[in-house]
């Protein structure tokens, strides 16, 4: 958490990274880049700074620019800091047909932020996203790895309250690799 901390994985995360790298043939360790970036994003407060990206590049023995190119391509990687809980509301067709606009408006109102902004207390960042494959349970939002589906404004209120009380940083990664 501390800002002066040297950028490097915890022992457990490093072990996981090594395991991930072993899944790909020799000389193809670059394949591990995306999974390891997920790991890094979870380890380093939900976003990927230039220092973190450089560290990942050194782990995989690739050029830093190869990491920047990838990080900026994929929508799940944050290259700027985000709030503790990243709220991602789907807004494509089926979700829109079932009222995602109202959900977004409600959250904006409730947290007093616009899309792309972080609440004053640093707790929530609101993001709109494109189809998350939850069209049958629309409207929906994702926070970390969790899908929250069949949303109503009441459900959103409950969820925000719960997240605030839990006060935990959201992460896509619950567990990405098992021992084998």
């Amino acid at each position: 958490m501390s800002e002066n901390k040297k950028i490097e994985f915890s022992i457990e995360a490093l072990a996981t990274a090594k395991k991930i790298m072993a899944r790909y043939p020799e000389g193809k360790q670059k394949s591990a880049l995306i999974p390891i970036l997920h790991l890094a994003q979870t380890e380093f407060n939900g976003w990927l700074s230039a220092e973190v990206m450089d560290y990942v590049a050194s782990l995989l023995s690739i050029k830093p620019i190869e990491v920047y190119e990838v990080v900026t391509f994929y929508s799940m990687f944050n290259s700027k800091p985000v709030g503790k809980c990243l709220i991602e509301v789907c807004q494509t067709s089926s979700c829109w047909l079932r009222g995602s606009d109202e959900i977004v408006a409600h959250i904006k109102n409730k947290l007093n932020i616009n899309v792309g902004e972080t609440s004053a207390d640093g707790m929530f960042t609101l993001k709109t996203v494109e189809c998350l494959g939850s069209c049958g349970t629309a409207p929906m939002l994702q926070c970390g790895a969790d899908f929250h589906e069949n949303l109503t404004v009441e459900k959103v209120d409950e969820l925000l309250e719960k997240l605030r009380n839990k006060n935990e940083r959201s992460s896509y990664l619950k567990s990405m690799i098992t021992d084998r």
Binding site: P64, I65, Y68, T72
Partner: protein
């Protein structure tokens, strides 16, 4: 060998040749334009889509037409293939559409762009573009940045041909720039402020088809059509040493690699040749370089330069450099102004 017919003209080419290169062997108007393909850059091409052609017969063996227009720069020929380029209204229509796409977010700032006069996009829009735009939205813009002390990156003008990335991949060990973000937000960048600094970085400028990467040492010095391109060479330990000097009077305003009639460099040059020898005396001048563009750059008469006179001037400068007094000039003298800009005074 494969026999292919392009717009009714048949040519025999080695197997594995692309349609574009087969067309270039025929030459003339039937050659598709190319904005991203670059012969000497591995994996280039296929992206800009201006070279799309129609394959009306796949091969002698399988005469079926190809279902979609294909990128001629990345599609290899087959024996008996029949291709339509300018003879196909569909191709011309498609090309017009692609050119329009390339222009909707382009700033069209040719009057202040150093690339004007030798810009592939300018030529392309002149030939295939619409007279006015149907795009009424705000154009995409990026901040201008200096990537090192020699190169200016004008991302707003970029068409994302990827050539500069491929140059860096091919000629250097540590590529520090690349394509970031995606879609129409994609940009050429170093991400964190970093200079592109290696012996061959200047070639990024030469391969850029537009004015996105320009030579800072030539910035706003002159419109290219007021300069005289001269083939020249020197003994260089790093590269072939074969260049084009872009001169005004006796000043060397810019040094570039030599481009062929399709605007491609086959022998890249080092930064020393490009930036450190802006002096006629450092070079063996071979003569005027023929530029095959139909744009304004070819309209002045630099090719009529008197080689003998030039030789004399070189000798005169050499003497001057050795510390002797400058002999009287009968043509012109050059001097540098304080801000580094060169000017030429012509004596009567």
């Amino acid at each position: 060998m494969a026999k292919v017919t392009i717009d009714g003209i048949t040519v025999e080419v080695p197997d594995g040749t692309t349609i574009l290169n087969a067309a270039r062997q025929i030459g003339g108007e039937i050659v598709p334009p190319a904005m991203c393909y670059y012969t000497s850059l591995k994996d280039s091409g296929g992206k800009c889509r201006v070279c799309l052609v129609k394959v009306t017969q796949g091969s002698a063996k399988d005469p079926r037409p190809m279902p979609k227009l294909v990128a001629s720069c990345r599609t290899t020929v087959a024996d008996g293939m029949v291709i339509e380029n300018i003879s196909s209204p569909e191709v011309l229509e498609a090309r017009k559409g692609v050119v329009e796409f390339l222009l909707i977010n382009h700033p069209l700032d040719c009057p202040i762009c150093d690339q004007a006069g030798e810009c592939d996009l300018q030529d392309l829009s002149y030939e295939h573009g619409l007279a006015d735009t149907r795009y009424e939205f705000e154009r995409r813009t990026f901040e201008k940045i200096d990537i090192g002390d020699k190169i200016k990156l004008h991302m707003t003008r970029c068409i994302l041909c990827y050539r500069c990335v491929l140059v860096a991949n091919q000629l250097t060990e540590q590529r520090v720039h690349g394509v970031l973000d995606r879609g129409d937000r994609a940009e050429i960048s170093t991400y964190i402020e970093k200079a592109v600094d290696n012996d061959f970085s200047g070639n990024m400028i030469d391969v850029c088809p537009v004015g996105a990467l320009t030579d800072r040492t030539f910035r706003f010095k002159s419109r290219v059509w007021f300069t005289k391109p001269m083939d020249a060479h020197r003994n260089c330990t790093k590269c072939c040493g074969k260049v084009v000097l872009w001169t005004k009077g006796n000043d060397v305003l810019r040094v570039t690699a030599r481009k062929d009639r399709y605007g491609e460099v086959s022998e890249f040059i080092c930064n020393e040749c490009r930036y450190e020898h802006k002096n006629l005396a450092d070079w063996v001048v071979e003569g005027p370089r023929h530029i095959n563009r139909h744009s304004v750059i070819s309209q002045n008469h630099y090719e009529k330069i008197d080689l003998l006179k030039l030789k004399k001037e070189v000798e005169r400068q050499l003497v001057f450099q050795k510390g002797k007094q400058l002999p009287p000039a009968n043509q012109s003298t050059t001097y540098s102004t304080e801000n580094g800009n060169s000017q030429t005074q012509t004596h009567a």
